[in-house]
Symmetry: C2
């Protein structure tokens, strides 16, 4: 073999190697581009961060990396396939959690007014004077009264103070009492057996709480405290859902329903005097969906009245309660169609796993009735044509991940459709539904679970900031209100970033 | 008020009513159209059924309606949030189940050859002569041998027949033995705590089964029986995944790996002589993904050899084992890129809940390496850009719903991403992965769960037929093979439809 032949063999080998390298480079580039394309499409993915934000983000992502890897390598320690009740306390030790708690989160757009407060505070309220209890093993009804209440009770109406004093151990009595005010317990009712079982308990808790806070002075205290808790969790504005019920006084006076709207308004104004950077509330009027057309028509009339008397506070109308056992939206669509020019809708929809049933198809009615946002929209992911329409109409999805887990729609949080909504850059706002009932913080728990357990491991500060921005953008505030809220948010956000840097993260 | 005024008021009322009616009609039409658009997009949704098929479909949908409603109204009785082990027996009483079992289902494209058989049959095989056992509380290793095996054992190698005869109650002995061959038990290992726990048990079961069927005569029997079971479940063609291991004889002879490919080929030919309407098998060679580049290169060399020696049987190559703990595909991509012109890939990908991790991103590598299909693709739904690419390239998704549930990816089956793949008309084939390990029927259980629990309530015979058609369309058969399989399928299908009608459904 002569020199020329050797060198041409060598040349061919080199060409082959360099081709292989080029192929591999090209391969890696295509992979990077595809992943980058998905990042840009994801919620917040195209947001530009400032130098300072980038600095904070770097640290945040270091913490997130450690936490996700900890779960990945030690699933026995803390992983998202467990029930929320099994990791909620441990979660709070996390640096990412503490970061999120400090972070200004904008608005909460989906929360039920009676269920904003945790059991511990509600137990405190049972120390108020004149409180009678009708207490059985299954159920607790409460009533403030000077004398024994004239309401049916399967046992005997007894003063709470008497019950408490008769108990051997008050701490133990209160601990037992707490079970009537919360779903949070060691047994995870209905988690993988029967969604109706957990809803039954949920409705019992709701009944007990409502009986406690239907007394006007207690409702005032409770609502002020609720605002305080949300504010402390760095929420600046809230849209509450409420059915407006009749509050009563100790002297027997019963207020009309609209009185409660006024109460919300006045308590909020008081709160804003003390906390001028809290922007306020709006009201979405609700009615149980397990009702009939006449009741819905009535509720719409009441909505019109509230809109007229408290136009600044009124946002719109919704139907609530366990969707599976309620009546399909389609039954009410003639009445709802009639009112759609006067009243904005914020319908719950698709809070179900029963694909292809009339319940599931509430989503179609919600969209066709012109809903401004959709509560939950859990099942939307199974409806591609509708999902395209929702994206085009820019209808926001009010996602409440912990609610969906506790109320048995999903067990492993990583299977929550929010992951897909985020990936597709759908107009998502995060909220907490009934945080008091499962003992969650007003918004931080939902933000943390969404960010660390559900979103991509790559999701970063841009997603968190976009979620806060979305909560303003998709609120029922008018343009002036949004501008004001956004400017307060921006100041708080910048101060937060500075503070995180100043305290050396 | 004069007559004219009254009639014009009446006229206005009538106009208003007729406007309202028109609005409502328009509303209902838009809803129907949107739902119809989604039906057409869904898998099988645009298939046209014959008169006879429509007749059968009507009956099928009556049964399905009853079964879904039964679960909807009585979730305590049988619902899909329960573990598969808790409803698998009850499921078999269902009329829809029995219909699906009789139905020709085409091909199985994703099954691991050693795990096709249930524990009951494997227990029968332990009655073979010369079988020694190394039996501890945790583990069972088996070995056929004339004399005590010369392999390490923490206790003592003992003849299975001696162990069995020494037991007081043989039925009880076998019942206990069965636990080494199956995951199916009352405790649902790792279901909501730790995916690694269930995989650990899975790997133990695999180890025990493999030790039983590494003996050549037993492997022959076992594989023949596996084909028989699949055939009995109305499967006409199978693509098996196998790592090709070394079988041994009683006299100590150890065969090379390629011998096993020949064995599969010969057993199948024998089976086809007895059952001429069974179309055959193809082989996807596998290697554990918890390995290194050299081992993968070795396995690719073996694949080339099998391809050359048994070209009709060879389909391609894949990497297997728990994806979370294996090495990312990216580590092997240089080697896999080199071989991609010679060897077709059928990669497992996205069998994970760890969104945004390197494991999750195996999906990108699989697609960029030109995979013909994707095994599981569970996480694909979280990757919109990749999903578009997969749809455009018409890469089939091999979905194994019961596997994903038992191996802890999803608890409530209604949250399985298959629902969304079906809704979007993605190229799905249904398969069963390792049906023997959880005691499932070869294909009927997966079909039933997909059809009744996961797909829309509206999904009907068109979806079932399209799934069978897809299993042929996306097989590794060449065009002639597909044509032949499809013509056999069509005959069987028409005979099935006639039979269902003749037996008065
Ligand atoms: Zn709600
Ligand atoms: Zn597999």
């Amino acid at each position: 073999m002569n020199g020329l032949a050797i060198s041409s063999v060598l040349f061919l080998v080199l060409v082959e190697k360099s081709n292989a390298r080029a192929t591999l480079n090209n391969y890696n580039e295509r992979k990077t581009n595809l992943i980058e394309e998905e990042t840009l499409q994801s919620l917040g993915g195209s947001l530009r961060l400032t130098e300072k934000e980038l600095l904070v983000n770097e640290k945040l992502m270091q913490w997130k990396e450690i936490e996700v890897n900890n779960s990945f390598y030690n699933p026995q320690y803390f992983n998202y396939s467990k029930h929320y009740f099994d990791f909620k306390d441990e979660m709070k030790k996390s640096k990412v959690y503490q970061f999120i708690q400090r972070m200004p989160k904008g608005a909460v757009l989906h929360v039920h007014s009676s269920l904003m407060l945790g059991a511990n505070y509600l137990i405190e309220l049972t120390y108020e004077d004149h409180l009678y209890a009708c207490l059985t093993d299954d159920n607790l009804e409460l009533r403030f009264s000077h004398t024994e209440p004239q309401r049916p009770c399967s046992v005997k109406w007894t003063l709470m103070s008497d019950l408490r004093n008769a108990s051997e151990d008050i701490a133990q009595f209160d601990a037992k009492l707490k079970n009537y005010f919360t779903l949070d317990s060691d047994d995870h009712i209905g988690f993988h057996t029967d969604i109706n079982a957990v809803w039954k308990k949920f409705n019992q808790v709701y009944f007990t709480i409502k009986s406690l806070i239907s007394y006007r002075p207690v409702r005032e205290k409770a609502f002020y405290q609720a605002l305080q808790n949300f504010y402390n969790d760095n929420v600046m504005y809230i849209e509450i859902r409420s059915g407006l019920s009749s509050l009563y006084e100790l002297n027997g006076t019963v207020h009309d329903k609209i009185y409660m709207a006024t109460l919300y308004d006045e308590v909020t104004k008081l709160f804003m005097k003390v906390n001028p950077d809290f922007v306020g509330i709006k009201l979405i009027m609700t009615r149980a969906r397990a009702t009939n057309v006449d009741k819905v028509r009535e509720a719409l009339d009441l909505s019109r009245q509230v809109k007229q008397e408290l136009p600044a506070m009124f946002a719109g109308f919704d139907l609530v309660g366990q969707e599976d056992v309620g009546r399909p939206l389609a039954e009410f669509s003639p009445v709802l169609l009639e009112a759609q020019d006067e009243i904005n809708y914020y319908f719950h929809g698709g809070e179900t796993n029963w694909y292809g049933t009339p319940v599931d198809e509430n989503l179609f009615d919600a969209v066709l009735l012109g809903t401004k946002r959709i509560g939950h929209a859990y099942a939307l992911i199974k409806h591609p044509a509708l999902m395209t329409a929702v994206a085009e109409k820019d209808i926001a999805l009010e996602v409440n991940v912990i609610s969906n887990s506790v109320l048995s729609l999903v067990q492993d949080l990583r299977n929550h459709p929010l992951a897909i909504f985020l990936a597709r850059g759908m107009p998502v706002v995060l909220s907490s539904d009934d945080p008091g009932v499962w003992g969650a913080e007003p918004l931080s728990d939902d933000f943390y679970v969404a960010f660390v357990a559900i979103a991509s491991k790559h999701a970063d500060l841009r997603m968190l900031k976009q979620l806060a921005i979305n909560s303003i953008k998709y609120s029922a505030l008018d343009d002036n209100g949004k501008t004001r809220l956004f400017s307060i948010f921006e100041n708080k956000w910048n101060a937060f970033i500075d503070d995180v840097i100043a305290t050396r993260l």
